[in-house]
C-alpha cells in the first residue's frame, strides 16, 4: 500500500485515502476528430515498466485531483503535481532524469 502526498491539501496519507485513475495527460478528442484519434483517446493507454504519469484523486480527503509520477517497477514516487496542466513540470522531469537516466527513450 503506497503512501501518497496530495499537492492540493498537503496531506501525506495511505493509498486507501486516494484513488488512482490511470494515465495522465490524455488529450480529449471530440466531434470532428478521426476514428483513430477517438480510439487513441478512449482506449489506448501506456503500460510502462518504469516511469508512469498518473491521474489521482484525494477521494476521502480534499476531493481534489492531481497527477503523480511513479515507477511501476519499484513503486518509487518521483513527485505529485497539479492536475491543471498539460505536461509534467520541468523540475519533476529533471528529478526523473536524475533518478532514471534514459527513461525517455524507454517510454
Amino acid at each position: 500500500m503506497l503512501i501518497v502526498s496530495c499537492p492540493n491539501c498537503g496531506i501525506t496519507a495511505e493509498e486507501t485515502e486516494f484513488h488512482a485513475h490511470g494515465e495522465a495527460h490524455i488529450t480529449r478528442h471530440a466531434v470532428g476528430s478521426s476514428d483513430d484519434q477517438m480510439e487513441t483517446y478512449l482506449f489506448m493507454r501506456k503500460n510502462p515498466k518504469g516511469v508512469h504519469f498518473e491521474r489521482w484523486r484525494h477521494q476521502y480527503g480534499c476531493g481534489k485531483w492531481f497527477h503523480m509520477a511513479r515507477c511501476t517497477m519499484t513503486l518509487e514516487v518521483f513527485g505529485t503535481y497539479s492536475a491543471q496542466t498539460y505536461s509534467p513540470p520541468d523540475d519533476l522531469l529533471a528529478r526523473i532524469d536524475a533518478r532514471r537516466p534514459g527513461w525517455r527513450e524507454a517510454t
Binding site: 500500500m1 503512501i3 466531434v31 477517438m38 477521494q59 513503486l75 514516487v77 491543471q84 533518478r99
Partner: protein, 1005 residues
Amino acid sequence: MSTRLATGGRLLNKSTSVKFRFNGKYMRGYEGDTLASALLANDQMLVGRSFKYHRPRGIVAAGPEEPNGLVNLGEGSDFEPNARVTTTELFDGLRAESQNHWPSLEFDVGAINKHLSRFLPAGFYYKMFIHPRPLWKHVYEPIIRHSAGLGRAPKTRDEDTYEHFYAFCDVLVIGGGVAGLEAARASALSGARVIVMEQTAHWGGRTPVDGGDINGMPAQDWIDATLAELGAMENVTLRTRTMGAGVYDHGYVLGYERLTDHNPEAQGPRHRLWRVRAGHIITATGAIERPLSFAGNDIPGVMLAASVRDYVVNYGVSAGDRTVVVTNNDDAYLTAIALKEAGLDVPAILDARVLPEDSAAMARAKELGIRVLMGHGVSSVKGGKRVTSVAVCSQAGEGSVLEEIACDAVAMSGGWSPVVHLWSHCGGKLMWDTANACFSPDPDQPPKGADGGQFVSTAGAASGVFQLDDGLNDAFAAADGTLRCLGRKLPRDAKASQGSRNDEAPMAPVWLMPQGASVKLREKAWLDYQNDVKVSDVRLAAQEGFVSVEHAKRYTTLGMATDQGKLSNINGLATLANALGEDIPSVGTTTFRPPYHPISMAVIGGEARDAAFQPIRRTPMHDWHASNGAEFEPVGQWRRPYAYVKSGESTHDAVMREVTNTREKMGLLDASTLGKLIVKGPDAGWFLDMLYTNMMSTLKVGKCRYGLMCNDNGFLIDDGVVARIDEDTWLCHTTTGGAESIHAHMEEWLQTEWWDKKVYVANVTEQYAQIAVVGPNARNALEKLGGMDVSKEALGFMEWADGVIGGFNVRVYRISFSGELSYEIAVDAGQGQAFWDALMAVGADLGAMPYGTECLHILRAEKGFIMIGDETDGTVIPQDLNLHWALSKKKEDYLGKRAHQRSHMADPDRWKLVGLETTDGSTLPDGAYAVGEGNNANGQRNMIGRVTSSYHSPTLGKGIAMGLVHNGPDRMGEVLEFPGTDGKTYSARIVDPVFYDKEGAKQNV
C-alpha cells in the same frame, strides 16, 4: 518411544500440570509446553495422515515450518481447523483432533493409496481424469472433492472478537532472537521509535538452545539484560506472540498478534492485526533447517536435528531413546551432544561429508563416545508408523546397505536456509550462497520505498550469517545502516555486542542421499511431506517439460500446502536443477507471497462485522418506515423501504396494494435518497450542456427538464430531472446510487479538463428530505394542508416553486416518475419527519399510504420509464432506449456525442428497447434471454434479446416487461421465446414499452 525426561525443559513451569485431550484421549503436559512437545511427552509421535497417500505422519519440526502436525482445535464456536501443533501453546482443557484420516488415525482406509503410489505420480489428476469427459463431472470430481482438503470448515459462528491496531515507528524489527534484540538495542540508542515483534512467547530465538556467550556472559543472561534495557526505554515497544506476516509497499507491514490463543478464558480480542507504517524494517527472522532427501524420510520419528535438540532443551522431551543423526554439516552434532548429555543413546552420526580433519563439534561427539561415520548416509529408513531402524550406505554410492542400525528416531540436517520471505515480499532479490548452499538476501538489490531508497534490511541468520559473533555484528551493522537510511546516527560510544565463536567445518550440499539413489529409493524420498511430493515426482515433471520452477511447483504441488514449502522449496528446486542439469541459481525460486504463515481470516476483518461492517445511510424518516412495516432493501449504503407490509399480508400483496392505491388514491414515497447536486456559476449552463445530452442552458428559471448523461464513451451513466433555480444556478437530480459518483464525475471534468470554467458543484443530497406525493388525491391533500397555490395554472407539469405548505418551507417540483399527478416536495432534512407526519395525517381521509421501491419500479415500468442499472448496464447508449429526442442536435459537443458517431454505435442493427407482454399473462423471469434461430460457434442457441425489467402489473392484471431486443422496434407483435432457468419456456409478444396512459394525460392535470 518419545517421552518426558526427568531433567531439562527451560521453558516449562513443571509446578503447573495441564490436562488436554487428543483424539478423545486425556493427556498431561506442563505449562509452557507446545501441543507438539506435550504430544511427544505422551509418546504421540503420529499426528496425522498425508494429503494424497494418507501415509502416517509424525512431528518433524518445533516451529512454524512444521508440515505434518495440523489438527482440528476446539469445538463449536471455538472450532478451528489446521492448527499447527508446534505453534499451539498448551492450555488446560485443550481439545485437538487429527485430520485427514478415516476411520481413525491409527487405521486409515485411504492409506491404500500408498500402495497405488506408482500409479499416482505428478500430474496424475491431469492425465487420468481427462477422458472420457463426462466421467469427470459425475464420477471423478465428486470422489476427488470428497477426499480432498485438510481439516473441516467451522460450522458455527465465531464468537471471538478481533481488532486492528495502527502503529507507526522509525524502525520495525521482526524477530526477537539475539540478532533482532541487538538490532533493536542499537536502533533504539539513537532515539528512534522502535517496535520489536517476536512470533513465539519467548525472546532469544535459538541461541539459548545452541549455546554461546555474549559479552562474556551466557546468552540467556545477555538476553535478559538486553530485554530489561529495551523495556526501560520509552521509545521501544516489545511484542511477543506477534508475527511479522507481510511486508508491503512503502514500509507497510502487517503483524499478527495472538492474544488469547494460549489462554482462551482471558477477556478481550483473540487476535490483533498490527497495521504498521515503518520508516525502515529489519528482518531478523532466523533460518529454517532443511530435511535430507532419503528413502523413508517421512516415517514418523524422522525429525529435523535442531528440532530434536529444541524438544530436549526447551521442553525436556526426547523424540526417541535411540536417535541416529544424519547430517551434512556441523550443527547437527550439537543435537547428538545434547541427546548424549541428556542420557539418551546416539548409536551413530552419519555424516555425508568427507573431511580432512575433525571439527571441534566432531571431536566433542567422539569424546562422548558417539560413533561418527564420515562419507555415509541413509539408504532407507525402516518402519511403518514409527522408525525401527536405519539402513546405512555410502553417500557416494547407489544405496547398497552396509549395515542396519536399530533406532526409534532419526535427526536429520541438510543445512540451513535463511527465512527470506519478508525480504522478498516487496521486491528484495536473492543470491545463491555457495558456502552454505542457500539463497540469502542480496544486499545490493533490496526492497525500495517511496523515495527509491532501501527500506528493508536483514540481521543475523536471516542474512545468511550463521555464527553467533558474525550474527551480532551483522545485526549491529543492520541497525547502523538503517539509521543512516533514516537520517539518524548511532551514538558515538555505541558498540556491537560480542558473541563467542564455534569454528565449524564447511557444510557440503546434499540434495539426494545417497547421491546415486535408485528410482526405487527416489520414490520413497519425500520433499513435501504435507502434499506428498517426492524426488521422483519433481524429476518426472522436469522430464515432461515443466522446466520453469513455477510450472514444476504447480504440476507437482510442491510447496503448495499450508506450510508453503518452508521445508521443501530449496530441496525441491535443487532436485529440479539437478534433473535439468542446471545450477540452482539459474532455476531460481518460486515467488514469496504474504502472509509468511497463515493468519486468521477473522483478524483481517477485525472489528468490521455486523453493525460495524459498513456505515448505513438512513433518511430522516427511516425510523417511521421501520415502525410501519417497512421491509428494507440496500441501495448503495442507503436502506430504502421495499414495501410496507401489513399484518396478514405477503410482501407481494403489499406491493400490489401500494400500486393500486397510488394509482387510485394517493401514495407517499420517501425520495430523499435521490441525488441533489447544485451546479452554480457563470459557466454552469455551458458545463451542463457538456454533461447532459440535451440542452440545459436554455431551461427557463422555474422550469424542470429530464436529462440524460453519458460518459465520453457514449454509454448512459445517469438520468434525472434538472431544475433551473436562478440565472446561474441549476439543481440536478441524480439516481440514488449516482449522487456521489456523478458529483465526482462533474468534479473530474471541472478539475482535469475544463479548469478554466467558473462552475461550483455542491452535493446537497442529505440536506433535504424529499417526499413524492403521488396520485389523483395528491393536490387535494396539499390544498387541505394549505399554503401556496399548487393548482395546474400556478404550478404546471415540469415546473417548480418555493413556498409554504402546512407551515413548512418547501420547494415543490411538479415531476412524475409514476405517470400520476405528482409533487416532489423538498424540505430541510430536519423537517422531514414532521412534514411526512403532516402529509399522512391530512391524507388519512384521502386514502394516503406510503409506498416502497418495488411499487415505484412497477409504476415506472407501466409507464415505460427506464431505470439506470436495469435498462442500462454500461454498454447501452440512449439510441438503444429510443431516447433520440433527448440528444441535442444543436449542441456542437457534449460528452458522448463523438462516441455515438463511431461505427458500431451508429449502426442501426442493435438491441433496442421494447415492451414485452407474456402470451399467458405470467411474469417473465428478470434477465431471461430471448433465443433465435440456429446456434453460435459454441453450439449454444443464438440469443436475440434479454429482459431488463419484469413485473406483475396489478393495474393491467398481467405480467409486463421491458427488454432489449435485436432491432426490437421493427418487430412489433412478434412473439419471442425466453427459456427460464426453471426449465419452462416463456412466450412474450413485442409491444410498445408504454403500457399505461400512453398520452400522459394523468400526470398533466
